[in-house]
């Protein structure tokens, strides 16, 4: 419970932390979203083997749940867990990036 609560707090706090990622890492993550998320979700994120993940398609979804999907994947689907490659703060940054839409 304690760790779950902490994790939730961390996730809730994440949008504020998103801006605290070093700029170079943020650039790398933006690159990762386009190229690596894009290999299933499409370069424009409009969908492919994976679903549309543009802002309109994600509207109403909680950032915490989205971060969880990124970190732990969706069992039974082609969405892999990114936890081995991304920190929770980085996943939260990606959620913010997806919800706002790439610049």
């Amino acid at each position: 419970m304690l760790s779950g609560g902490l994790a939730l707090l961390l996730l809730l706090a994440a949008p504020a932390e998103a801006g605290e990622l070093p700029a170079a890492r943020a650039d790398e993550l933006a690159h990762l979203v386009v190229n690596d998320c894009g290999s299933c979700h499409g370069l424009t994120l409009a969908g492919g083997l994976g679903p549309d993940i543009r802002p309109a398609a994600l509207a109403g979804r909680s950032p915490e749940a989205l971060a969880e999907v990124i970190l732990d994947g969706r069992p039974g689907t082609a969405m892999p867990p990114w936890r081995p490659l991304l920190s929770e703060a980085e996943a939260a940054w990606i959620v913010g990036y997806l919800l706002e839409g790439p610049p």
């Binding site: 690159h31 290999s39 499409g42 370069l43 492919g48 082609a78 892999p80 990114w82 490659l85």
Partner: protein, 381 residues
């Protein structure tokens, strides 16, 4: 007077001759971010020009007309573009669907087929005019589309777990053969160079399905069933591809899903004959045209490296590190050279496949797929 005309014609010839460029040594490189195609000459390691305005080219693929003059480019956004390599200009373009995943050209060169995620199904066009010829709805994301002899196309259905054969030998209304129960979530398909064996990779199951297209009726046969049953699956950060070029001698090399391995099967019995441990999740396992080597690239985070596997011993004989974003490899038709796209470096690297020496670097904008015109004469590519 006639002699004077002949003389004039001769004098005019050299200028005209200088403009002739045969297409047999040409190829195209897909530039994803800019939606353009780089036209290249593999014999001189040179970029000749760029064709722009092709839309979203993520995961784009290309087939060629039988005369190697036209490239048909299948874009992710559903765009089908016909590019004239002799003029380096767009000769035709249609937006045929919302979201597409590859295409094929019929053995007679008359029909171009595109498989679609959204809406699902296959659409078929006249290769000359790009006018619609047939629409084959499937109710599923449709992929693994290949051409096979007899004016036929074969493709698989992600949600339904089926493989369909569309036979256009009788005209523009295809006869459809549905092969059901091929397994859960086929993610790609390939056909052997003789057009006989279609293999669908399965994402939803440990195994693949082979279909003997010479059998009457063709039936699915599970191969490599349970190949990963001893270990939990590893995460797959990019789906592997199957390609007809995976035939290496009497064996077919297949990338495992969720395992860092190449799986070898006998091309006739389809039984497993061995495995090669690799440094990451394989994406492409492409055999050099003579079949002696298989070059393998990888999903993130290992997409900066290549391993070369000897197809006789199954041993890794070389590892190369071209840099992050190695997306595709294309061999010269005789196999002496291989071109490698290195996306993040904005570069194509050309290697000698005997010495592994890098022969050339060609700048390209976010390069992904590389396609040489010799594909025009290969079934299933």
């Amino acid at each position: 007077m006639i002699r004077l005309l002949a003389l004039l014609a001769l004098v005019a010839l050299p200028a005209a001759a200088a403009e002739v460029r045969a297409t047999g040594g040409l190829g195209v490189v897909v530039e994803r971010a800019t939606g353009s195609l780089l036209v290249v000459d593999r014999t001189t390691h040179a970029a000749l020009g760029r064709v722009t305005g092709l839309g979203d080219l993520s995961h784009a693929s290309v087939v060629f007309s039988p005369d190697e003059r036209f490239a048909y480019v299948f874009g992710r956004d559903g765009g089908l573009t016909k590019v004239d390599l002799t003029t380096q200009a767009i000769a035709g373009r249609v937006i045929q669907a919302g979201n597409a995943i590859g295409g094929a050209i019929s053995d007679d060169g008359r029909l171009v087929a595109v498989s679609n995620y959204e809406p699902g199904g296959v659409r078929v066009f006249d290769a000359d005019t790009l006018a619609p010829v047939a629409d084959i709805p499937t109710g599923s994301k449709t992929l693994g589309l290949v051409d096979v002899p007899g004016r036929r196309f074969v493709f698989s259905l992600w949600e339904a777990g089926e493989t369909w054969i569309a036979d256009f030998s009788g005209g523009d209304s295809p006869a459809i053969t549905r092969i059901t129960g091929i397994g859960a979530n086929p993610y790609d398909g390939m056909v052997t160079g003789d057009g006989r064996t279609y293999i669908a990779g399965l994402f939803g199951e440990d195994g693949l399905t082979a279909i003997d297209l010479w059998a009457e009726p063709p039936a699915p046969r599970r191969i490599l069933a349970g190949y990963g049953k001893d270990d939990p699956a590893l995460p797959v950060y990019k789906m592997p591809h199957l390609e007809g070029w995976a035939m290496a001698g009497e064996r077919i090399a297949l990338p495992a899903v969720g395992r860092h391995e190449i799986l070898w099967i006998d091309s006739r019995s389809l039984e497993e004959t061995g495995r090669t441990a690799t440094l990451g999740q394989p994406v492409f396992a492409v055999a050099r045209p003579d079949g002696r080597q298989v070059w393998v690239n990888f999903a993130p985070p290992d997409n900066g490296r290549i391993q070369v596997v000897d197809s006789v011993s199954g041993e890794v004989v070389r590892e190369l590190a071209p840099g992050p974003g190695v997306l595709h490899m294309e061999f010269a038709p005789r196999g002496n050279e291989v071109w490698v796209s290195v996306r993040d470096a904005g570069r194509i690297d050309v290697y000698d496949t005997a010495t592994f020496e890098k022969l050339a670097e060609i700048p390209a904008d976010d390069p992904s797929g590389i396609f040489f015109t010799a594909r025009a004469h290969r079934t299933g590519l």
